[in-house]
Structure formats: C-alpha cells, structure tokens
Subunit: 315 residues, 4 copies
C-alpha cells in the first residue's frame, strides 16, 4: 500500500470519538478534512491501529493539555509500533458545561459522569457548587452526554462535556464554562503514515522521541546540548517510562524548526549518533504560527556558508 504523498491525498480521517468530543472540534478546524470521510474510533490506540492498517489516511488525536499534561496513550502509541508521523497540529480551547436531562435542577444532582481528564479540570467548580456529588467515570466526555441523551436508565444525574455535545444530545445546560482554568487548551495532532512530510513554512515544529544509549547520569544534559549548540529551541519535553524498568525513561520532545532546516538536520544527526534510537515523529506547521527568533549563526544561509568554507579547506 502506497501512502498518500500530500495532505490533499488524505481522504479518510479517523479521530478519537465519539462525535461531540473536543477531538471532533479539532478535526472540524482542519480545513483539508472538510467534506472528507470522518471515522470515529473508541480509543487513541484503536484509531492509530486503524491508521497503521491503512483503514484511514490520517487520525486526529489529543497529545497535550495545558492543564492535565501529556496524553499518555497518544505519546506511547506514537513512541512504539510501526512508525507514524505528525503532519499538523490544532489548538482547541477547552470549555466544559454541566448538562442533564431536561427538568433536572442543579440542586438535585447527586452523581456526575464524565471522562477522568475532564473531571480533573472541573474539581474546583464541583467543590464549590456540588461538594457532595459522586463522580462516575465514562469513556469520554461525549459518552456522558450520549448516555444522558439516550433513552433508558443512566448511572449519573448530570454530565460534563463540550457545549456542542450537550446541544447535539438535546440536554439542558445547568452551568456554563465550569472549567477551573479558563485558559485551558488542548493540543491535537493529525497523524499519518510516513511518506507525508509537510513542506517547511518558516514556522514549523518537529517532534521526536529519544531513547538513551544507557541510562547514565548527565545523559539528558548531553542530549539537550545537542539542541543548544545548534541554537534549536525545545517547546515541550516529557519523560516517559520505557516500560523496561523503573527509572528507565525515553524523552518525548517538540522543538522549533523543520527537518529540512539545516540546524534541525544537524541536531537530528547529532542525536542519532549519541542515542540508542531517535524516533522521528514529523515536522509540521505550528498552529500558533510563531516563528523562532533568529539566533545568529543558525540560519540555512549560515550553514551553507560554513559548508562552502569547509569544502574549500578540504579541497
């Protein structure tokens, strides 16, 4: 199976479903997905497995929340198994509503269903307004709305979900914007099979996972120096257990620049030489359009000049 070579050739988009989640909102924000087939999956794992199997051409999954941190399922699914690459990112502001079947007053809510990540983000509001509410975990925020929206018994009185999910299920909103952190944002990435490399835009980001040669003191410092000495800025660094033993970590890192940039290429080669494994997870345009400040001596022109000079020395 030949992978699609350009974003335009992506026809089927998978996403972490069901409909009504923040992930669907991220997919809606991706222009090239408009009018294409969109397939919800029950988990990040299943969505990425379907992508690896060729059932979809790309998959939108959450990777990081500004309040809750990295999404382990996504980080780990990308770090192992057949290679996948990120080809784009979307930032979605997170707004939660408390909703219930029509007629349920706020004062009578005893049990609240939602996804554990969402519950973590509304704990403050709950402590103030529903201090005695019992939490019931659901598979997603949308699943809590869907359960309330469907006929029959449900295990909780109210749900916490995105406004759109409450609306779609015909639920009543008991309270708006109940997130403890009003600036909460979740970052989603569009993942594809290798072979799709977005062109550099000048405002790009690259994602890698680094496995150290051996777990030695100062090892991380050495890795970071590979970035620093080429003037490459990191924007995210997370350690993740490799699973082999307590205390054995790999590092999931985002940094500014595109694999086609000279400074990024040299950084990646340097990492490749000192790491046991460097897993390249793609270069793609930044959602915020931010361009790194140019550090002296790190532009492509600087690298070209240095290469020409070296070639002359060696001639």
């Amino acid at each position: 199976m030949t992978p699609p070579r350009t974003p335009d050739e992506l026809h089927r988009f998978g996403y972490l479903g069901p409909r009504g989640t923040f992930t669907q909102m991220a997919l809606d924000a991706w222009d090239a997905a408009a009018g294409r087939e969109q397939v919800p999956f029950g988990s990040v794992d299943v969505a990425l497995a379907a992508l690896r199997a060729g059932e979809v051409d790309a998959a939108m999954v959450p990777i990081e929340n500004s309040v809750e941190g990295g999404v382990s399922a996504t980080l780990d699914a990308l770090a192992t198994g057949d290679p996948l690459v990120v080809i784009g990112e979307v930032l979605v502001p997170i707004t939660f509503v408390l909703c219930a079947r029509p007629g349920m007053p706020l004062g009578e809510v005893r049990t609240v269903g939602t996804h554990s990540h969402a519950w973590a983000q509304v704990r403050g509001w709950m402590a103030e307004h529903l201090p005695d509410a019992v939490y019931v975990p659901t598979l997603s925020t949308a699943a809590s709305a869907a359960a309330l929206g469907a006929p029959g018994d449900v295990m909780f009185d109210a749900g916490v979900c995105a406004p759109v999910a409450a609306r779609d299920e015909g639920l009543e909103v008991l309270a708006d914007d109940i997130g403890d952190n009003k600036a909460a944002v979740t970052r989603f990435v569009l993942v594809a099979r290798p072979g799709t490399l977005p062109a550099p835009t000048g405002a790009d980001k690259t994602t890698v996972v680094l496995f150290q040669k051996e777990d030695h003191a100062g090892g991380l410092l050495e890795l970071l120096e590979q970035f620093a000495v080429r003037g490459v800025n990191m924007t995210r660094l997370e350690s993740r257990p490799t699973g082999s033993a307590m205390g054995s970590y790999c590092f999931s890192i985002d940094f500014e620049g595109h694999v086609q940039d000279a400074r990024v290429g040299e950084t990646l080669m340097g990492l490749r030489r000192v790491c046991a494994e460097v897993r390249f997870l793609g270069s793609y345009p930044r959602a915020d359009g931010g361009r790194p400040g140019a550090r002296p001596g790190t532009t492509d022109a600087d690298f070209d000049d240095a290469r020409a000079w070296l070639d002359e020395l060696r001639a």
Copy 2:
C-alpha cells in the same frame, strides 16, 4: 496543630482506597503503619486534602508507574497547595488478574470493568484473548472487584484487579498475571506535612518541583547544569504543565542524596537562586537501597575541606 516530628509519631495513615488496591499493598509494606489506623480515601486529591487538614498524619499515594508513567493527580497535588513532603517510598510489583462472579466462563465475557491505568496495562492480553471485549471505566481496580462482589446488577461481566482484591471479594480468577509487562512496578510515596524529615541513611533520594523564572530557550539546560556541576544524579524528570498557558511547564525531579548532604544543599541553593520557585518535596530513604557512586570532589568531606580553605582565604 503541631505536626508529628518523627515517623514513630504517625498514628493515622490515609491511602488511596478502597481496600484491595495496590496502594493498600504499599501501605502493608510500610512497617511503621502496621497496627496503626488506616483510612481509605476515594482519590489522591481527597487523601492529600485530609492530610493537609490534619485528619491523617500521612498518606500513601502512587506517584509513578514503570509502564504508565507519572501519576498526574499526585504530581499536581504535591506541586501546588499547602506544602507537603515525601517521607518514604515503596515499590510494588504490579500483577493483574481477570476475575468474574463464579460460573462465568472466559468465553462469555463481553464487557470488562477496571481503572483506565490498569486497562492500559492489559491491552495486549485483551487483544489476544478477548478482542471484542468492551471496556467500562471504574474508579479503581478494586472498585471493579467490589462491584462484582456486591449483590445486584453490575455493568460488566469481568474485572481486572489485584489478586488480593479478587480473593477478598470471593471472585473467580479467569486468568492470572495478565499484565503485558511482567516487570511492571508502581512506586508509591508516603506523604506527610512539613516538619517530618527522615534522617540521612547514605542511600537517599530528594524530590523537588522547579518553576522557571521565565520560559526561555535553554532554561532547562541551565537547571540541569545546577545538578551536574555538583555531581548530583537525577533519577526522574517529568515536565508538567503549570496550567497558565500551553507550553508553560514546571519540572518534577527526583535526585540522589539528602537535603543534609552538602552537594544537595548547594544544588538546592543554586536552583533557588535561578528559579522562580523551588518546591522542596522531601528527602527520604530509597526503596531500593541503592547508593550513588561517589564522584570525586562531591562528598561532605570535600565540601568541608573547600569551605575551610575558603574561610582561610577570606580571613
């Protein structure tokens, strides 16, 4: 309220309940908790809030899993709010069983209830043996066993939990040791209010959370150099979002040594000077008893000698 000053003075121990979880196993492994009052709490947050309020003298909570990574709820609850300190750690090997009410054959299991972290650790086994099973989230692994053990309707056919929980609830074990990673270990920490500082043993660990002065490129490198230049080894590093904005992180770090060690003291002072905030989360004996290799020039004697020399220069 004066906090207890020594481990012996800890009388009431909270833990992440219910009974039958791995956290209870960790507490069982803590000798000083034997015969003392043990209070289960429904979440890490609630347990630590009770500790802060003085309702218990210490609380055992999970902080890190060798497969799933850091426990966000614990990391974040320690990083913010009134200060707490870790006074000990326990490593518990993680073994999962699939259990059901007596009489349920494996072949008829359609739905499986467990905690999402446990589900993540048995996905491989499930894909092989119960590929069509539907996952139902529960608040804890023990909660899935408790639901099956209680009379009445239950939302799933089988549960995934610790062997002890299945036994306590009188359930039948359909499959033993179903974790995908047989070496899985979870690290638990015993947390107390400040004022309890275990004495140095020579095999100690210290935990801190570092907030950078500003989020600048190379900032993490500078922080790590504070450790490197004093010969202090890190054993865990995790970034966590500060919540203020996407891309703003603090760093949760474990490192070898005790706050009473000279090299650790100077490292902490260095971090204090360059960070916006250093949150000290305690020095405590390592569960594995490992002693760091002595790097030349970093023993207390080396520091004493250097101090005496400096005092002479200044005299």
Copy 3:
C-alpha cells in the same frame, strides 16, 4: 615575620627596574607608593624572590600586555613557589620613542637596542622607516636608554624606550610614538605576601591558577562551568605549561568579583573540589572601575536568601 595587614602598612616597594621603565610608571600611578622607598630589581624573578624573603613589602610587575600577551615570567613566578597575592592593578598606556645620542641622524641608524617585547611592538614602524636596522636585545627598554646615556662604547646606534627614559638619560628623540598599536596598554599588578586582602569595592577582580586533577578531554569545560553556573565572568584565561610534560597545562584566570562575594566564594569552593590545586592569587579593585552587570540570582542577597531557605528546609 608578620606580613603587613593593610595597604597602608606597605613601606618598601620593589619593582621591575631599572628606573625609566614602564613598570616605574605603574608604580608612580600607585598613590600609596608615593614617598615610600622604591627598590628596582633586575628581573621579575628577583623582585618576587625579594618580596618572598621580606626584603620589600610589595612588588610592582607587568602581567599582561594588550599586544604581546601574558608576561610568562610573572605568571610562572606567581603560579609556583611560596604563595603571593595580587593586591592591586594598574593600566599603563604604552608609548615608545626611538632615541639616540645627540647628533645621530635617523638615516644613519644601523643597529637598534631594546627589550624583545618592545621590539615586537615596533616591528611595523621599523619595517617602514629602518628596514635594514639590526636588532640587539637588551634586558629592558630602560637598559637601552641607559647604555646610550652612559659614556663609552655601546653596541647599538639607537634605542627604543619610554619617553621618560630617553629624557632622563639626556638622549635625543628621533621619532615619537612609534608603537604599531596606538592603543597598546600594559597591565601591572602590585604583589604582596598573603595576609593583605583589599576590602571589596564592588568593582573587583580575582586571580587564580587552576591545576586539573588529570588532563582529560573536556576538563577545561568542566572548570568553566563552575564559573558559568554561578554567573561569574572571566576576563582573562591563559594556559601555561606545568612543565611536567608537553600537553600538560594549568590555567591562569582573572574573573570579576571579590573572594568575599558569595558567588565568588562558591565558585572557588567548587573549583577547589574538582581541581588538583587552586592557587588563589588575590582579590583587588579593578583599575578600570568597571562593575559587572548584576545577573539575576547571583548577588550576595540572593545567596543569603537561598542559605536561609535551605537552613529552614534542614531544620
């Protein structure tokens, strides 16, 4: 013999003679030497030996020239033998004249006597104006003037020396200001026996010689990190052979700050721990009065705050 404890107690000043050298000009610029006994010595070695023997209380010697570099004799004499300390520095602009016995025309000069360092600084002028002149080495620039000023035979037709030397010897100046580099400056240091430590002024410098524990790759990098991590700026770094083998070096370093400054104290202690030997050569006011920009987190107040915080953690 008790060493003088304050600059005021210095009564006898040695210097690199004879009279009429730039070193005497440096001594003239040192207010506290005015009206005190001034003793010229034939070499840096002899001057410092006399200081060590207690024959003088201090000695003015050149340490660095902005054109010719470090003065090896001084650097090496300070780096070995009984300890001495620098208690002050003087910057002297260097101006050379070409002089001869009255009646000698420029066009007839065939041989030129001067010190080798001076000759190196007028090579450009000589190549242009006296391309065929033969160089005759003398022990000092003043010695060339003295030879011409004395009766009897002399081995050269003209000398290169300071204007004051030519005038004192009654010589005729054939050409003024013949140095190739008009901005040439020589830095002189006033050296004393240990026990004299000038008080901090806020614009101070400290000098050390560092001997590495073993000559390993990256060794210098480690030493420099001891400075960097405490925000201490170096202003001079010179490698000098230790004499034990080709490729074995020590490092002579000047840096901003006073041994009484907290950041300098910690840097020195760090160096002491990682070096085979740290030779402290004094803290003294900077001749240029320059004050380092305050780096955040490196003031004495920052160190005091960090110490108080640590003490509280340890309590």
Copy 4:
C-alpha cells in the same frame, strides 16, 4: 605562483636560525628536508614573511615549549597576515650546555649570554652554581655560541646553548644538561602556504585560531561546547590578545583529528557559524603518533549513518 601541492614538492626549507639552534635539530628530524636547500632566518617573522613571499616552500619554527609555553612570535605571525598552514610537527628534547672559550674555568664566569627563553630554563642551575652571574640577552642560543666562537671581544664569559652549537663553534663545555626541567621538550611546526594538506593518517592534529563574535561572558564556554558535543578533544588552548584592547583575546587551539574527519568537519562548521572568524592553520600527523580513543558515535561511519538516516527522513 602555484604552491607546491604535496610534501614531496617542497624544495626550499626556511628555519629559525642560525645554524646550531634547536630549530635546526627539528629540521634535521624532518626526513623530507634531507638533502634539500635549508635557509636560516633571523626571526620567526622574517622566516614566515619569506614563506609568504614564496622565497621558501616551507618553514620550521618553534610553537610551544613544555616549560616556557607558547612562542608568541609564531602564534601571532600565524594568526594574522596572509594565510599559512601547518603541515607537520616535530618534538625536540631540549638539552642545554654551559660553554666557553677553551681555558675559561667555571669559577671565573661572571657573565652569561643566551636567549631569554633559554635563560628562563636554567635559572635554577644558575642560582645554585653561578649565583652572581649577570645575564646578557642574545638573539638566540646559537648566537651566544657563535659570538664566543668568533674572534675578537665578546660581551660575556660563557654561553648557554644546544650541545651541537657548542661543538660546532669549538667551545669547551663547562657543564652538561643544565636545564632545570630534564623533560623539557619544544614543539616545532613545519609551515607552508595553503594548498598543502597532508592526507589523514588516523593520528592527526588540527590547529585553529578562533576570534569571538563579541567578547561576552560565557563566550569561551560556547566555543568549547562546539568541540565537546562532537567528541573532539583539545590538546592545547592558549588565549592571545587580539591587540585591539586590553581584555580582547583570540584563542589558539590544537585538537585531535583531521579536517577530513566528519566530526572535525562539523566542529569547524559549528565554530565558523558562531565565531567572527575561524582561521584554519592546518591538519597534520601527530609527532607522537597518538590516536584518540574512539568515543561512541563520533566515527566517520557514525556520521555517514546519521546522514543516510536524515536523507531518508527528508525524502
């Protein structure tokens, strides 16, 4: 004028004369100079000027002494002016004799002539055996022997020079091997015009002079990191004043490896990007034949592998 392209094409060799100096001994040790024309020059400057002018094809000059340190004249002449490159190095053990005209007893020596560098290396012997001897500077050690060997008046009773010079001039040796450091070695380099690049041997050295972009704190640290991050070992580092102002330095550096080595090439390009100027002074076989220990990840094969991997990522 086309420069000679290989060592075999070097026909005329200049050297720091006169005959009988240690430099001539270095040239004698250079096989390819045997039977070729050998031209002594009166100073390093003149020898290198002749080389630049094409009057000789190569020049042997001292660059470093294991006791006295770098030879400023050579370092500075290479660092400025038309480019020259080192194409080889020679290590010469330094042995001094005290010699005089036949019939002069040691006990009657009142004045001693020699080059200032030699005088510095026999100070200890002199202090013990001829404490009252007066030093008379000469242009070279050989010049002191030549003066004694020639008829007529001479300004000193005895000279300090190489054994061969004393023998050639028919002088009597009053004392053998009088150097204070019996392991003293001087390193000489054979310099040529650019265009002559010795092939890599696997045991090579490269010399550069680095001019910083601006004289900022931590600047040297950044330069050294360019070496460290590619696993390149320095064997000599000397600061030299640029002459523009007190405190403005360039750095003269030798390091292991050949410009054709991948790790050296990338290091040089990195330096080129961050420095105001990188002056390449040649790659050449090491006189001691030492081969650097292979650091993991820094062989040419490692670089080739990393490049192939990157090319694949970018395809």
